[in-house]
């Protein structure tokens, strides 16, 4: 085992309603490539944010090169020799490659009034060469170069800075670097990373387990904020890691499975060969009355875009959508509303609700036409409608006039759903309905979803965890790289095991 | 930092407000609503108003609208609200349509007032018993006079260029009409180019520079006001043609009078701003005090052109003595002494 240069001891971090890290011990050794894997929500991003000083631990200790580290942000982290390479790059788009490379540290090329542009360009070429960008002109604008090049440029910058600050063996954190790369670029990245290992440590975060296994000297698996395993090279294959990621046990009655109802035979929504260039293609599905269909896939699998197309906020390039057998136009959110499709977005605060308005106005937002008498709104009608839905959806609010911004996340969620129910939506798209909601409230949402389905609403859902997807849905549609790869039925008495499913996803 | 700033701003505001209200609080409020104090014309106007108010122990209130019709109306309404009927008004409406709401507001409040310059033709002064008079200076006559003087200085033949005022502005149109009338009677003169410099000195300078390129043989410049005439004159000076290419303007600003004296300008017209400032208030006050009975006034005394002061090289010395070195003396009780003609 090599020398440990970064160590996190018993790190705990909690956010309202969720424990992101629950006593994690994490270390990085000199000259190694460390693979970090885990499902969405396992705590990877929180861990990374702590490492680069964007967040601090609630409990536990953080040591860098043997010293206790107190970082107050990414630039302090870089001074200590640890930096993160973001997927889309963190470069100023209108500046040149070389400007970005040396930004803020031009003084190291001399303190005269005029910058020695030529010397800087030459130095830049050297830095670029080291990360395989020898053919990139240091004077080209960053906005014009490819994502792969941006990523490598960031690596070059971190390496240069660590040398500037006199830090030996910097730690580079790469977040999903391969998702923006072509296959040939991936190979190049790996060979460069292999070479860089001689003078740096690399933390490699990826959903592509094959790549992780191929590249990493060591693999750390996170699940639910805990460290599940710390495996040396060759200690685990993809299958074993998958099992560790999703865990073994699946509690029997987590998702109110007993309340699951069989769906009707009537097709409520029929999507045929939907395509959005570069995002997804050939997407077809039928949604039946009272059915809960879960869309499963990683970030970038195209499931978010499918839902956006259904909500009318994105216009597909081709394909058709029919609601209740009638072909519908989906060119704007209004079309979707008219067709009876309601979207409950992940970011309720910003997208789903007018938080500055009160509960009543939000519930009646889509049906103001029915609240009129002549050109004027009738307060009595508005109140009656709002009261009805507050009661039906069990919204806990001090009054109908309470501003939605003061409600809890769970109740905001219910207001959004009530809005759609009031508008008589027949289809609901629930985008991560339990995100940021505490455990007790989650159960209430599960029951609510069941009740909606039992009442005949059809639901498309995207969940936080695979277990939730399996548990809640009648059927799963698994997407990968923009295509449907599998449909998996999930009847209440024969739910598939997560291990059996994850292979299709990653 | 923020609190300190707020505090400083509050103190500044308080100071400016208290100084504004520290004026003596008795006597008739004498409102003067004009464009702004940034231009000499209205600055002199305000001095005339102040001088008259002081002479009768009234409280002069100078309101500037800075080009906003709405502000002008609001300011007037604010003073009415404060003073009630104990007020008179003398107004240079920002735009002619603005006259209507102003007249209605003052009429409703029972406040006597006089307006200058801008008025839509369709609005009849006689429909408003408190509208003592609408006074203007004939732009047409001024424009024609300027043209004639310019042509005379050129010996009756040659090319001229013209700089119009703000397009669609009544005064600008009238003065230009006057020029055209003068041109009809001067067969030796051709109008080589017309453009607008929007009353502005810098713009006139720039347009003139371009004019001089296109018309190197230009013999004279007719500008709808002195500001533009002076801007054009600078361009002429820069080209080394001062004295050879003469300019004419209107308004009688000091520099233009100096240019007439120096032989670089042929003529200008003084609209006696000091007189306007004082006489507007004097007429309104006379009506308020019953010295003139608005109801029995003949129609032509309700809307008339007043006498402007024509300046040429012939009378320049006496003009300088009266208007530049000294302040002209007016008999504020000679209400219609400057009457020239009715406004039709």
């Amino acid at each position: 085992m090599g020398e440990t240069i970064l160590e996190l001891k018993r790190a705990k971090k909690a956010f309202p309603g969720v424990t992101a890290l629950d006593g994690v011990d994490f270390r990085v050794e000199r000259n190694e490539i460390l693979g970090l894997v885990g499902e969405n929500g396992a705590g990877k991003s929180t861990l990374m944010k702590i490492l680069i000083g964007l967040q601090t631990v609630d409990e536990g200790e953080y040591f860098l090169r043997g010293e206790r580290a107190a970082l107050d942000g990414p630039s302090a982290a870089i001074r200590k020799g640890i930096g993160m390479v973001f997927q889309e790059g963190c470069m100023i788009p209108n500046l040149s490659v070389m400007d970005n490379l040396f930004l803020g540290n031009e003084d190291s090329f001399g303190r005269g009034p005029l910058m020695p542009v030529k010397a800087m360009a030459q130095a830049a070429r050297g830095e670029l060469e080291a990360v395989g960008l020898g053919r990139l002109n240091p004077k080209s604008t960053v906005g014009d170069i490819s994502s792969a090049e941006k990523q490598m440029l960031e690596i070059a910058r971190l390496l240069w800075l660590s040398r500037l600050y006199g830090v030996d063996n910097p730690i580079l954190i790469l977040d999903e670097p391969t998702t923006v790369l072509q296959e040939s670029e991936v190979e190049r990245l790996f060979s460069i990373l292999g070479a860089l290992k001689a003078r740096a440590s690399i933390v490699f975060i990826s959903h592509r387990l094959e790549e992780v296994v191929q590249l990493s000297d060591r693999i750390v698996v996170l699940k639910d904020g805990r460290l599940m395993a710390d495996l040396g090279r060759g200690q685990a294959d993809v299958k074993a890691i998958e099992r560790l990621m999703v865990g073994h046990e699946l509690a029997v009655e987590h998702y109110r499975e007993s309340m699951q109802t069989d769906c009707g035979s009537e097709v409520v929504l029929c999507v045929k060969e939907l395509r959005l260039g570069g995002r997804f293609e050939d997407f077809s599905m039928d949604l039946h009355r009272g059915e809960i269909v879960s869309l499963v896939g990683l970030m970038g699998s195209g499931k978010e875009e499918v839902c956006r197309c259904l909500g009318g906020s994105e216009v597909p390039d081709s394909g058709s959508i029919a609601v209740h057998g009638k072909p519908a136009r989906f060119a704007s959110p209004k079309n979707a509303i008219d067709a009876g499709i309601g979207i409950v977005p992940i970011d309720r605060r910003n997208d789903g609700l007018a938080t500055s308005l009160d509960v009543m106005s939000n519930i009646n937002l889509l049906i103001l036409d029915r609240m009129r008498s002549g050109p004027f709104l009738k307060p009595a009608l508005e109140k009656a409608s709002a009261r009805r839905w507050v009661e039906e959806c069990l919204i806990k609010t001090p009054s109908l006039q309470t501003s939605c911004s003061t409600l809890s996340g769970g109740n905001q969620q219910k207001v959004v759903i009530a809005k759609w129910l009031a508008a008589e939506a027949a289809i609901l798209v629930l985008d991560h309905p339990t995100r940021g909601i505490d455990v007790g409230a989650k159960d209430e949402i599960y029951r609510r979803i069941r009740a909606l389905a039992a009442a005949g609403l059809s639901i498309i859902i995207m969940c936080d965890t695979l277990e939730e997807d399996i548990g809640l849905s009648n059927r799963m549609i698994v997407m990968k790289d923009g295509r449907i790869v599998r449909e998996i039925p999930c009847p209440k008495d024969a739910k598939p095991a997560p291990v059996a499913v994850i292979g299709y996803i990653v | 930092m923020k609190k300190t700033l707020v505090l400083v701003l509050a103190v500044l505001l308080a100071l400016s407000v208290t100084t504004a209200f520290a004026q003596k609080a008795s006597g008739v409020f004498m409102g003067t609503a004009i464009r702004s104090l940034e231009n000499p014309y209205h600055a002199v106007w305000a001095r005339g108003a102040q001088s008259f108010a002081d002479s009768v122990g009234g409280i002069a209130v100078i309101q500037t609208c800075e080009g906003s019709s709405e502000k002008q109306l609001n300011d007037i309404k604010a003073l009415i609200a404060k003073a009630g009927k104990n007020a008179v008004f003398s107004i240079d409406p920002n735009e002619s349509p603005n006259v209507i709401p102003i007249a209605k507001a003052l009429e409703a409040a029972g406040v006597y007032f006089v307006t200058y310059w801008n008025k839509p033709d369709t609005v009849k002064v006689t429909d408003y018993p408190h509208w003592v008079a609408h006074i203007s200076f004939s732009g047409t006559l001024a424009g024609e006079f300027m043209g004639n003087e310019l042509f005379k200085s050129m010996g009756g033949k040659g090319k001229i260029v013209a700089l119009q005022g703000m397009l669609a502005n009544t005064t600008a149109i009238e003065r230009y009409t006057g020029l055209q009338a003068a041109l009809k009677k001067a067969p030796g003169i051709t109008l080589a180019a017309v453009d607008t410099a929007e009353w502005d000195r810098t713009k006139a300078f720039e347009k003139m520079k371009s004019f001089l390129v296109a018309n190197p043989d230009v013999g004279g410049v007719w500008a709808a006001n002195d500001n533009m005439a002076l801007g054009a004159l600078e361009a002429i000076r820069a080209a080394g043609l001062a004295g050879k290419v003469k300019v004419v303007g209107c308004d009688g600003v000091d520099e233009m009078i100096a240019a007439v004296k120096a032989g670089e300008a042929a003529a200008t017209v003084i609209n006696p701003a000091f007189w306007q400032g004082g006489m507007g208030l004097s007429l309104a006050l006379a009506a308020k005090d019953g010295k003139i009975n608005v109801k029995t006034l003949p129609v032509e005394k309700r809307a008339f052109f007043a006498k402007a002061v024509e300046v040429t090289s012939a009378n320049i010395d006496s003009i300088i003595a009266t208007y530049v070195k000294g302040t002209p003396k007016y008999d504020w009780n000679d209400y219609y002494g400057s009457y020239v003609a009715p406004i039709k």
Binding site: S75, C90, E106, K118 | H42, D195, T202, K209
Partner: protein
Amino acid sequence: MDGLAAAASTAPRAATRPLASRLLSFASKGTRGQIVALAIVMLIFAIGTAGTSVSLKNLQTILSLAGIPMIICLAIHQVVVIGAMDLSTEGVISLAAVTSGFLIKNPFTAYDIGFWVIPVAILIGGSAGLVNGLINTKIRMPSFIATLGMWWVTQGLAVIIGKGNAVKMLDQRFQNIANGDVMGIPVTILIALGVFAILFVVQRRTRFGRYLYAIGGDETLARQAGIKVDRVKVIVFTITGCIYALASILLVARLASSNPRTGKDLMFPAMTAVAVGGVSLSGGVGGALNAVFGALIVTALNNGMVLMKVSPYLQNAVNGIVLIAAVAVTIDRKKIGIIK
């Protein structure tokens, strides 16, 4: 490091290119569209005026007319580059003008400080800019509001100080300079080009210049890179104020007269020229050269319209159309990512 050696072998290619091609690439970087636009404008008017518009005399006229607007454009465009806005232009110019008017030999006051008025005016303009910058960064008020407030304040001060007087400048030397020329080239354009040269070098060759673009491109990232963003912004506003003062002195000198209206109606034309020149109003794109071309295009356009006797009723409309067309074309060439 081994990369350095590898890079050294490929380095000298830039130095060996012929001067002409280097000049061309220097000028065309980000201003190709503007050069074409200027050429088109000149060509149209050359045809429309049967050559008068491209006569030596008129080219001189255009240059002499372009000088002051160019200086104002050069002042404003810097603020635009950092993604901010400056609406105080007219007020600051008027205030500096009125104050200068009373300090140079004049009929109203006994002061006659001669050319010392230049540093005094620059001090006034710079102070206004400094306050703009401080309000923007320390009190964290949008530059739009901060400078709008400053416009009212300075315009008001100009009226209070000037009392509505047009102040005649009796020191002939100023006017001689402002309307003079050196070997046929108007002095104002030479001064403008001097300002341009300084800003150009600052923008292309100094850290400070680099930081302007970093801030205009992405302020958060610039801050993360350790750039003292607030300080840079304050300096930019201050320099802008100083350049306004320079323009103000020239305006006063050219007409030998100052009054509180001296700065009136200068901001929108300058902003138009900056945009026409290809400086992105969302920041980070375009530089001093664009400001220069913008001022030239707009001036040539207005001069040409006078020569062609385009109806004054139409002239403003033409300006507006050119603005929208120019910006539409400019935006097309940019990456969507940096249009905010």
